[in-house]
């Protein structure tokens, strides 16, 4: 039997505010434990939270960028549960009246274009961090992250594969980066995914029992966890069993997921309106002002690349998927002044190859976009050959040096001096009399061999077009 996987994603993103959601403590990452805390974020008796204005602005921005309705009336609620990462024993979140509802995003892949519904986006506070390295096996708690503002973006169960989930999550990340709502530093936990997943026999309209996997913090983990859990559920059904509704834990190291807690122990959060905070009422005028502030979003940018610069749709999609990449690309195009497709070819070929090799992204490029433009110009004016330029590019990615200096240092200056080349080519012809004879006898492909030998002789530095011309003349 064939099965269909049904996935909904909850994405938590830390907002790019300077301070926490309800107090003036900094949101800076990586400082000493418990140095960004105060009575408010620790929930000490008598301390009162006051909502950070910027949090509303960022959440509305995220909502508008994902085609959501912005609710004119919204409130905060208490979600009650005991866990050491939550000093107040409740999390201030939003329950039945979130800021944003009913949005959507379009994703593109081999399946074509598909619309993914967004149920809601609400604001809430992050929890502290549990550390498990204490020698005596106890748990240590660092509350620096406690009270850092989050938005939770909840999708409809519209996703059908790990691939679709990845594309959707990448799109959300790109939008949050473009709007500068979140820095989306995944290694710092700024963007985390919860997966709700069920399977059902193909053609069946009733949803199967779902499980939840929380806090996946990379796209790789997201894809692997979905594939593994989908396979597990199908195996359970195939062997005549039943899927149990539960929370499961994905282990990135072992690549396996295991049961964490079953529904019997599931939490009853007893939400109620937060008495310490007053409602948020947003005027139409405010919402429209934020809408006007929205930057050009990835889809629109990709469309511009295709329509105005003639890029293939696929290339435009890849380049605009990351804001730093798109910014780098555009700066390069501007500085280069030539065909944007030349730049795009280098990005899609050489740059992506290096990204894959090094596990890097556009934010890790060690040289300014101008350097890449300069290198392309050096190819255009014949200073270096295309293949030599690739070597320069690889080296540039290591050292961040200027292309001109690298060309000199690596001795890759292209030989375009006709006299010098003629001398070299004559030597090549003397060494390969058979090929010369073959060509003269009509075997045209012998020319290619002689060009190749000349390139070898010059260590790839000869101007290939010129070599061709000279060879033809001498033959």
């Amino acid at each position: 039997m064939n099965y269909e996987t049904v996935i909904g994603l909850e994405i938590h993103a830390e907002l790019a505010t300077n301070t926490k959601i309800f107090c003036g403590c900094t949101t800076a990452f990586g400082d000493k434990e418990n140095t960004h805390c105060c009575p408010v974020c620790l929930g000490l008796p008598g301390a009162l939270p006051v909502l950070n204005k910027k949090v509303i602005e960022y959440a509305v921005k995220a909502g508008l960028a994902t085609n959501c309705q912005i609710n004119g009336f919204s409130k905060l609620d208490r979600k009650n549960y005991f866990y050491p990462d939550l000093p107040k024993a409740y999390q201030i979140s939003q329950y039945d009246q979130p800021l944003c509802e009913e949005g959507y995003l379009d994703i593109k892949g081999d399946f074509g274009s598909k619309r993914i519904g967004i149920t809601r986006i609400h604001i809430e506070e992050d929890a502290g961090k549990l550390l498990h390295e204490a020698e005596d096996g106890s748990t240590l708690v660092d509350y620096n992250r406690g009270g850092v503002p989050l938005i939770e973006i909840v999708s409809e169960p519209d996703l059908r594969s790990a691939e679709e989930a990845r594309l959707y999550a990448e799109k959300i990340k790109a939008i949050l980066e473009y709007t500068e709502v979140s820095d989306c530093r995944m290694q710092e936990g700024s963007l985390r995914f919860d997966v709700n997943l069920s399977v059902r026999p193909e053609g069946n309209s009733v949803l199967g029992t779902r499980t939840e996997m929380k806090n996946l913090n990379s796209f790789r983990a997201l894809v692997n966890a979905i594939e593994d859990e989908s396979k597990r559920q199908i195996e359970v059904l195939e062997s005549g069993g039943e899927v149990v509704q539960e929370t499961r834990k994905w282990d990135d190291v072992t690549g396996k997921n295991t049961s964490l807690r079953s529904k019997e122990e599931a939490h009853d959060y007893r939400y109620f309106p937060e008495p310490d905070l007053v409602p948020v009422v947003l005027e139409e005028e405010y919402i429209e002002r934020i809408r006007k502030e929205l930057p050009e979003l990835p889809d629109k940018r990709a469309k511009r690349y295709v329509e105005e610069w003639g890029l293939p749709e696929y290339d435009a999609g890849v380049i605009t998927a990351s804001r730093p990449m798109a910014v780098f690309f555009e700066e390069c195009v501007k500085s280069y002044g030539g065909d944007p497709k030349t730049v795009s070819n280098w990005v899609m070929g050489e740059l992506m190859r290096l990204f894959n090799e090094k596990g890097a992204g556009a934010e890790d490029i060690p040289f300014p976009a101008v350097y890449m433009a300069d290198l392309l110009k050096l190819v255009d004016d014949g200073t270096v050959s295309g293949s030599a330029a690739k070597r320069v590019f690889t080296e540039m990615f290591e050292t961040g040096e200027q292309p001109k200096k690298l060309v000199e240092r690596l001795g890759l200056l292209q030989i375009s001096d006709e006299e010098a080349l003629t001398g070299i080519i004559k030597r090549v012809m003397e060494k390969n009399p058979q090929s010369v004879e073959d060509y003269r006898a009509g075997t045209k492909k012998a020319l290619g061999f002689l060009v190749g030998q000349t390139m070898k002789e010059t260590k790839g530095k000869a101007n290939p077009a010129l070599v061709n011309n000279i060879l033809k003349k001498l033959l």
Partner: protein, 93 residues
Amino acid sequence: MITKEDVEYVAGLARLELSGQEKEEFTKTLGNILEYVKQLEEVDTSSVQPTAHILPLINVYRDDEVEPSTDRERILANAPEKLNGCFKVPRVI
């Protein structure tokens, strides 16, 4: 009316350990409170919006400006147990 099981469930959520006698007692007294409050159900509220807050205030914000946090020593001063600048709690998974 509420049952003893309701009391046990709520006590569990609140991490309260109750004796058999307390369970009986709270079943009665909590039940009485709920019965008393139940009188409100006689009021027709079909045209009334739920109250989100009892004060007639909206949009109370602060600006996104960093203020000094509290010294770590003071933060940890009342912690029953601490280690390496952290609060120390029993092991959780």
